[in-house]
Symmetry: D4
Subunit: 231 residues, 8 copies
């Protein structure tokens, strides 16, 4: 049985939901509206829903005419068609250090919601005003998975990582200047964090962080529903 | 209540188990045997067990005299004292691309076991002989969390990431030469992977990958034992 | 005998066909339409054909007015005048990992065809959906030379390289973001590939890869026509 | 009047104390014991005291034979001859994130003491156990100048910088591995800190940080003794 | 007592003046005029004054309509509302190497003035015409703190650092081309300066340098007014 | 049918000869003599021959005791057991720029011979003495494939590439200092060559270049023996 | 006597001609037309001539209205006012590898002429068509100083350097893509050249190369006119 | 007529003296004593003299046994056989910033002397003590060519370049730590110098700088002896 639809210019991976738990998500950058539209058609016919990331407002406007039921969020640049069909136990906390990291934090938050996670947002809690972070300490320790977004020196995930017993996924952002090297500095900084239990995704990749967070909650939900006793 | 023991040269974080689920682990590199010995004493008196990573054989020999119940593994350079006291549901799969990545893979495997995980090892399945990997396909899809270790171009996690619905933690290794840049190349390569659901830790950081894997299984186990219904 | 035409601003290398098997190809970037037009005149008078790469649509429009027999391809940004005069035995396979790598793959494919090669295209077979690649396995092993184009982490050539007994020429693309470093990451990654028999060209250099592929088939064709017995 | 002694292989800057407030300090690395010995002679005859940094134990042993009144500190690798002749108002706090940063922290602490500063040490207060740092919060806000030493991701200075109204001088260390890039990562990270009022010196340059801290306290002391009213 | 105002999209750190001596400064880049306007409202109601850095002329025009008492400086791209309420003893000297570094030098100068410092400007004294610098030698040695701004090879702070007994804060600028690497070259160069007593801030960060300079003069002023005898 | 022998620590890819035309080659670096010895046993029993690259003299001495028929070459650090069983039509030319590049050139030459190619060596023909190169011009144009090894600025392949109509495989070496960046400079330089028809392998990877050269001659030989007419 | 005119925003170095042989040259980038105009006024009143480099066409148009006797060259982006007043013995050869390097070559050529040198241009002689270069061999060996401009892999200066007994000044250009790194690759490549007697200036710095070439011919001319016998 | 001696492992370029004015110089690093000895034999028989650079003391001892008339200098690691046969008019000044740069400065000084130049040494005049440099101002302006060696931030050549009307050749050294990047920082810094008339050679390449300086004086001498009038 063929596991993908061949559109010539691309092979739509219709088998991905069976294989990885989620249908293919369209990366909007570098694709024409027309190509996106064709891929959307296939994905909708297979899965009744579709998510597009990194979609410029211009393309969104065009696509919304063809798919009027879709919704577009300008901050995260995400377009959604259809509704999430799952709801996992637990909660993903999305934190960010500064207001200029919002576009990445929202990409993470919307993606996680779309994939079936409850999301709690704690924004603008950068380490230079540590009391803002400490004010959320109790909340933070209750989250199941934490996505921590930071530009500049990327220190927030290290501090959070030392406060919790849950997995932390760090997302560096391209927000900064000079020695910030368009996000390379917080990326490298997060990778060398002194906090254990933390992993890192690409610069500005809120989507990827949320995807992994959702896989973790999916695992939890499936194990819980299996009611497997602890061995 | 004081949350750390102050040894002058260091503050032993005795509160960490309450806070993050695990006692402090000693990073052996750059510490003298004498310092390590003092920290071990404190940790053992608090937690009855201790793990040391990146410990040279020379220091290990000295420490084994003082702590004869401890065990030292030469491949991973880990010293363990005491026994794991938990066993989580689910299974961590540790994969590596080549035999020269073994030292990192074993650091991950021993750490995960120490933290309470069942571990399955699938070694030497680099992508240049894809059939070796495909021969394990069924096994791979059954793992709860996958730690994928690779040097050279670091392509293995991308291929594995596309095969499973579980979180993949990628570990680049410093094994390679020339354009490999002591591990920077596979590190960057893994961060830009086309597979979703994957996150990355520092070069050679098998410990960090295993730590996050264990936090994931800890979350699963705690949620399962809470018998919380899916909301 | 003079081996080049001196136009003042440049020396047209009219001897190149004798020396290397192919007339000079015009690199369109950074040249004015007027300069290109003058060089085309010389090359056409010497070789009755000409190829221009990296030609913007704007310049192409201008040149098509002066050379109405020419054809311009928007995806690859190649302009062709005249027809290929050779056809080599064997087949060049051009593969690419994602749809956003198409512009490089097509530069390679059109160049190879122009130079006298039969070309087979296998597109959008990135390693995160390995089954799409495996579906083409038989075909892949039949190609004489393989040009494998990939952005992101650049893993595709390694997997392909392990499947075939023919030379693989890897082409990294500038498609990606953050840790992708505008193509440096897949470039370095391909250079450290664990697959033997693979070499690499510059980022986005589909032309260069195809050029080498054509030289290989040219060698084959000339040796075959020489009917030299194997020593 | 000549402002330096010419030893042939070097020009001893005997005027420096008048010009900058402190005699020349000898950088021990890359100089032979014999050369150092000659320079010491000149500096002692001019200033009755001398400080040498980055001095290996081997050279120190040789020099201590020739200058038995000198003292050598193994951790900081500093050799001192004579006594500080000043004592400034205020207090320099030297903080470090981990025990492996001690060698840099002690270079800073001894230098500051030598230059006439009272020094308070707060060690092993890395951000991954934020409570260790917060336990010192009151003390921290009382310091006049803060030197904050950190390896790994270099996050400590940002957190400290947000807590105090005094200048923070950040010192990255070469302690780390992989993406740490021998200290480049915390260096860049500190330079892009979200905390204001912070500046940075070279990797492992505890001496330089302490030197600037002492200049600040020197300024304070001179202004105080001038009893200049605030304009 | 809550230490920040939560505006949803950001948490205004109203406690910062108590904690660090100065109210929060708004970093204008990457914020909308509307967001800035809301934050200004809060800061003005708390502190009766506000400073915005890196503000484009376009946004400034919009904000000046809403806050007609504010003043905007095009060179430094700083908008000020209200008046400085302090005046410290001592003097900050702002020096720059070339006329193209003016925008950074003025950011430093205006910031220092806003924070309560007397500022002396010495501009266009790059080391390739050392006599221009030497002509200011006496003046230079009288400054309390020196901010030295330089693009190109960033050599000016080293020369100045060797002339004075006061702290030097070096600011590399992004002005240059080729091997200048958008300011990375002078940044690294300043960090490896052979002059002691010098520290460095991020590329183009005139604000940060001035902030630290003001903290130094604040310390001086507070110590002087305490009339503490030298211990 | 199983396609590899599982030795626990590694999976010997016994199917590789069928798949890619050549048995697995052992990369000697980072493997113990004991491990190599076990892998040799397996490969010899399958293929009656084996090649090991990057083998230190120390390990070679140990292995020669166990495998007295093997031969070790100190310059290239290659150990060979058994004899090549093929001989291809055509000729591989191995060129190098300087005498210090010999170790890479010989790795290429011995590999190519082992794989069945006739090899012609043209050494020490760096471009700073262009007449040495021009003296070989006729010879150069007769080669079927050219492997061009160069350290320093890596200019030789560009000059050679412009002289021939055959594929050129460029190999940068780690021989140089300072701005040479351990081979990165000639690597990057070769990738941006102005000569068409050239591809590049990793720094010091003489083996990889020869492997690809042999695949090219293998293709030629198989096509010639098929006596396929040119289509 | 004051050695510079202070215009407030800049100090015009009117002494430079006495000190270095040439009046100050205006670097046009990053200066407003108005500022340039003021500096021109001063320089013209002192020296009766002025040269401006890196001047955009837009600013040139404005300045030509104010200084109608001036001349602007679009390729090199140089504006000249007045006439060269010297003519040195000997000849500067300006060579470039490709037509896209012309803008740098012309900056060098016009600068050298302005400074009093005879200039010979040999353009488009890149090493991939070595015969074009060899056709000029005799001419090349007759030049007094050679400025060799090259983008791509920057190999031309190495070949030229090996042909001549005169100083070669290499100029890398920013012309290229991908691994070319905006000129860093040829810059590094030229610095590691195997040819002796070669030095390098910044990327695209045709002006700097010509300036040094003119200083060399100035030295020659002054020594010749001194008629000093060879000691 | 053959222009080189083929020793098998290398081609001795015996024609170089005719072509470039100087016999080949042996680069000692990476060559065995035996190979060097053979090349020396050839060069001595052709030119009666030879220079070897970068020669370790160990190899020097061996070679001095075979060539007892040779002399070895430990600081510069140069071995000389025979005597310079020329003496040029003018003077090369070799300057260095610190005593740890001596090994490079002496490589330059001995090379220049060997090639026929009078050399004046001005050492340890780094910019952090500008008076040491200014004390030599008159001398500096009298030199014909200046070689300026500096590690750390590499600022010395910029200051010197602004003082003289003669060509300055800057040599960065590998002396420094941290952000110094083994010499890359001063290399880049020198390339972006604000002083005109300066060019740069590779890190630690005292030989290359001296070689170019000698070519300049050779040009002067030949032009002077031609008694060509200034045109």
């Amino acid at each position: 049985m063929k596991k993908f639809d061949d559109l010539g210019f691309c092979k739509v991976d219709t088998d991905r939901e069976d294989r990885t738990g989620y249908p293919e998500v369209i990366y909007g950058e570098g694709k024409t509206s027309d190509h996106i539209s064709q891929i959307m058609d296939r994905l909708i016919s297979h899965h009744q829903k579709v998510m597009i990331t990194r979609l410029s407002k211009e393309k969104a406007v065009t696509l919304l005419e063809a798919f009027p039921q879709a919704k577009y969020d300008e901050t995260s640049r995400i377009l959604l068609y259809g509704e999430p069909t799952r709801q996992y136990a637990g909660e993903v906390m999305v934190m960010c250090a500064g207001t200029s990291d919002l576009f990445v934090a929202e990409e993470a938050a919307l993606t996680a919601e779309w994939m079936g996670c409850k999301v709690k947002r704690v924004y603008d809690v950068g380490v230079a005003g540590i009391d803002r972070l400490l004010a959320h300490r109790e909340e933070i320790t209750k989250a199941s998975v934490l996505i921590v977004v930071a530009g500049m020196e990327g220190a927030l995930p290290s501090v959070v990582g030392g406060m919790v017993k849950r997995p932390v996924i760090a997302v560096p952002t391209s927000v900064g200047y000079g020695a910030h090297l368009e996000g390379l500095t917080p990326l490298l900084s997060m990778l060398t964090s002194c906090a254990s239990g933390m992993s890192v995704v690409n610069i500005d990749n809120g989507f990827g962080a949320a995807y992994q967070a959702a896989l973790i909650l999916q695992l939890v939900s499936e194990e819980v529903s299996n009611e497997k006793p602890i061995s």
